[in-house]
């Protein structure tokens, strides 16, 4: 009798649970990992905007540069037979790639950007210069590794497979969690918490924020601008490499896709209030979630929830997936119109 009742209870709520699992599987989990990858990019774009004061158009290509070296080191470790077991070897390669990327951005700063900084050129000119470095970085990446799609993931692919989940819970809907998604989330949490601890608690971090708020006042109080700039670039290199490598692990590495990712990254940075790293971090998730929420077809979701008599016929998709990018850009336009300083109040521009 009790068993029967329990069973009945389970069946009655099955549909709601199925619907929730469906959304988790197709919206929440992918958006969370994609959002983390965007957030890492948006944070460094935002930091560069706040401290160096220009729009850094090389952002996407710097990420592909870092990822390229992650891949090269991964291949090297694989050829040596080193692996991390169930974790992707790339995690081991990332620190080495960060070192090279850091050297690259510092070299670039010395050769290119420092000249304009000391001359106090207008931000527009620096943005143009960053387009020049974008071309160069793109060329370097394509010459070294080629323009093709590359996958460098190894280790265990799934943490939770759809079938296992179904067997475990007895639900109709499966929940798939890829190990790359979990890795992305964990690494993002670690990196971002260290970063915000650094920016908010350490002396150097505070001096960076002071420099970002008011350059003249910061210089007067004895903050060394060279150090601030250098640390900004180092942080940019770290975030670019980590974010790029995570994106590559989760999807795949292709220089052109990375260049295109620059656009949602900028959107995230602006939506979050450019110059405000924490806003950019949240902006990444805003962009990712809205892209996926708007382009997801809700048909199955409503079939679970609604009684059979009023089941929907159409796909119930607000916009076709072709307009994925367009969604984030429209959000950006709306934000620019109504709150130019971003949802989370960045620098007043």
């Amino acid at each position: 009798m009790i068993l029967k009742l329990e069973g009945h209870f389970w069946v009655g709520n099955m549909d709601i649970i199925n619907a929730i699992v469906l959304l988790l599987n197709y919206i929440f989990v992918p958006a969370l990992s994609y959002g983390s990858q965007l957030a890492l990019g948006a944070i460094f774009v935002s930091l560069i905007y706040g401290i160096l004061r220009f729009a850094y158009f090389t952002a996407g290509d710097l990420m592909s540069f870092g990822t390229m070296f992650t891949i090269l080191f991964t291949w090297y470790f694989q050829s040596l037979g080193i692996s991390l077991g169930i974790f992707p070897t790339a995690l081991l390669a990332i620190p080495f790639a960060i070192i090279i990327t850091t050297f690259y951005v510092l070299l670039k700063d010395k050769l290119v950007f420092s000249y304009y900084r000391t001359k106090k050129s207008p931000p527009v000119q620096l943005a143009m210069v960053s387009i020049g470095t974008m071309f160069v970085t793109q060329a370097i990446v394509r010459i070294i590794i080629g323009p093709f799609d590359r996958r460098f993931f190894d280790g265990e692919k799934f943490i939770l497979k759809a079938n296992e989940f179904k067997e475990m819970t007895g639900l109709n809907e499966g929940l798939t969690i890829k190990s790359t998604q979990v890795t992305t989330l964990l690494v993002t949490i670690i990196v971002v918490s260290i970063l915000f601890w650094f920016l908010n608690k350490t002396k150097t971090g505070k001096s960076m924020r002071a420099y970002s708020d008011n350059e003249d006042l910061a210089l007067l109080s004895g903050i060394d601008p060279k150090k601030v700039v250098m640390i900004t670039w180092v942080i940019a290199a770290i975030l670019a490499t980590v974010g790029g490598a995570l994106y590559g692990l989760d999807k795949s590495f292709k220089p052109f896709t990375y260049f295109n990712n620059m656009l949602p990254i900028f959107a995230a940075a602006i939506v979050g209030g450019i110059g405000n790293p924490f806003g950019a971090f949240l902006g990444g998730y805003v962009i990712a979630f809205s892209e996926i929420l708007v382009t997801y077809a809700y048909r199955k979701f409503f079939i679970y929830l609604l009684p059979e008599s009023i089941e929907p016929d159409g796909l119930l998709q607000l916009l076709s997936t072709d307009y994925k990018f367009a969604v984030s850009f429209s959000i950006l336009v709306v934000v620019l119109l109504f709150r130019p300083s971003g949802i989370f109040k960045g620098k007043v521009l």
């Binding site: 290119v112 931000p123 000119q125 071309f135 793109q138 060329a139 336009v333 620019l336």
Partner: protein, 456 residues
């Protein structure tokens, strides 16, 4: 005079380079480089008006180019009657609905003060409008796209001569620029850059995926031409005679009649492509010259002086009673319209419209490299930039091959490093563009031919 000499020397060198390509590679290649140089020149003139005259950054050039291309399709392709029958009415209804939405939003904005209520009203209009649009257009689009999808599957165009599209393209691009300008021109410079870049990406997404309008990624091929076709030329008496006349020297050397005829046939085929490209180059030159005259006149008119005043000191110009916002919008529209012409010209030249090929690297950033390298604010400089950068973009591969062979001549032919470098030759053009841009920005920040203002 000395400065004019600079300009003349730069252009002579440029033309000399193109002629050199004609001798070294082939005249067909040289002429297609010339045609694309001219198209690029039109684009750079558009960007230069915005950046050089008024200091506005427009990273949406790709969007306007694509709209110009779309205009070429919509003007020249004959209408697909069947598609109009099944879905035309609904699409017209949708157009009216959009117009209604725009007017009602304008009405709300004019009538009510800024308040939450007003925002809700606007949101309500937009949402109901979108739902209605979806309901009306959905089935219509489906039935339009079902009309022989392999060949048409879209509404088609007007069936007019394609030359009209150059004007229509300008109007399309100008209209888009008006909307974007209204939204984004109040933003600070680099915000404007990012916003326009993203909006152009939206434009491309729409053109790519609204198949009923543009066939999307299925491409539109076989557009009409304003110049003769090669096949027609090859059968024309006068053309064969012309080719024979040009190549008398070579033909007279051959004594055998049959071989002579063979040779002539070969020459006619080659000659026809060259002739077609020459026609295109002529047409494009006319556009460039007309635009150049207009822009030069504008630059040295009171209006041009006002624009420069606005660019150099917005507040002072504002204080003098110049309407900065209005002028910015005007110049944004004008510059974009010129880019739209270039977009239509390019599709006319190619004879096909491929929405998938519009990429920001090629259509936005490369154009900006041209403007900056050439000399912003100087029309002659902008055109020269278009020529020089496009020439380098195309000829980068042979140059890179030469350099690689030169520097790696110590290695063996099969050396892995050398083979890898030779395989990645296509990407050296990015390197050259980047380094070129960086060098120019560092050592000649005003470009090859800097802006010079005549003081009267």
């Amino acid at each position: 005079m000395r400065e004019n000499l600079n300009v003349i020397a730069a252009y002579v060198i440029m033309l000399g380079l193109i002629i050199l390509v004609g001798f070294l590679q082939s005249w067909s290649i040289a002429l297609s480089i010339l045609c694309f140089c001219l198209i690029s020149a039109v684009m750079t003139m558009g960007a230069n008006i915005q950046w050089g005259y008024a200091g506005l950054i427009n990273f949406g050039i790709m969007g306007y180019t694509a709209l110009g291309g779309l205009a070429a399709v919509l003007v020249s392709v004959p209408p697909v009657r069947e598609a109009w029958q099944v879905g035309g009415l609904n699409m017209i209804l949708c157009a009216f609905l959009i117009a209604l939405m725009v007017f009602s939003i304008r009405f709300i904005i004019k009538k009510y003060n800024k308040s939450n209520k007003r925002n809700y009203g606007i949101a309500l209009v937009i949402i109901t409008g979108l739902v209605l649009l979806r309901l009306i257009s959905g089935p219509a689009i489906e039935s339009i796209e079902a009309v022989s999808p392999a060949t048409t599957g879209f509404l088609g165009g007007m069936g007019l001569p394609i030359l009209f599209s150059w004007i229509v393209g300008a109007f399309f691009a100008g209209a888009l620029a008006y909307v974007i300008g209204k939204i984004a021109l109040g933003l600070r410079a680099d915000y404007l850059a990012i916003a326009t870049l993203l909006i152009s990406e939206i434009v491309i997404a729409v053109i790519k995926h609204e198949d009923w309008l543009s066939r999307g990624v299925k491409n539109v091929i076989g557009l009409k031409r304003p110049v003769p076709y090669e096949i027609d030329l090859q059968t024309k008496e006068w053309f064969i005679n012309l080719v024979a006349k040009f190549n008398q020297g070579t033909l007279n050397l051959i004594t055998d009649a049959l071989a002579k005829e063979q040779m002539l046939k070969q020459l006619v085929i080659e000659g026809s492509t060259v002739f077609v490209k020459l026609c295109f180059a002529g047409l494009f030159s006319i556009v460039v010259v007309i635009l150049l005259i207009i822009t030069q006149k504008a630059l040295y008119s009171p209006w041009g002086r006002m624009m420069r005043a606005i660019r150099d000191n917005e507040e002072a110009a504002n204080a003098m009673g110049k309407n900065v916002v209005k002028q910015h919008l005007l110049i944004f529209v004008l510059g974009s319209a010129i880019v739209g012409i270039a977009g239509a010209m390019m599709v006319t030249y190619d004879g096909l419209f491929t929405p998938g090929s519009y990429r920001p690297m090629r259509y936005t950033f490369l154009i900006w490299v041209m403007v900056i390298v050439g000399g912003s604010g100087n029309n002659f400089g902008a055109i020269l930039g278009g020529f020089a950068v496009w020439f380098l973009w195309i000829e980068a591969a042979p140059i890179a091959l030469f350099l690689i062979n030169f520097f790696t001549s110590g290695f063996e032919e099969t050396n892995a490093f050398r083979v890898h470098l030779i395989n990645s030759i296509p990407y050296f053009r990015y390197l050259m563009m980047g380094i070129g841009l960086l060098l120019i920005m560092r050592y000649r920040p005003k470009g090859i031919l800097p802006e010079k203002i005549k003081h009267i």
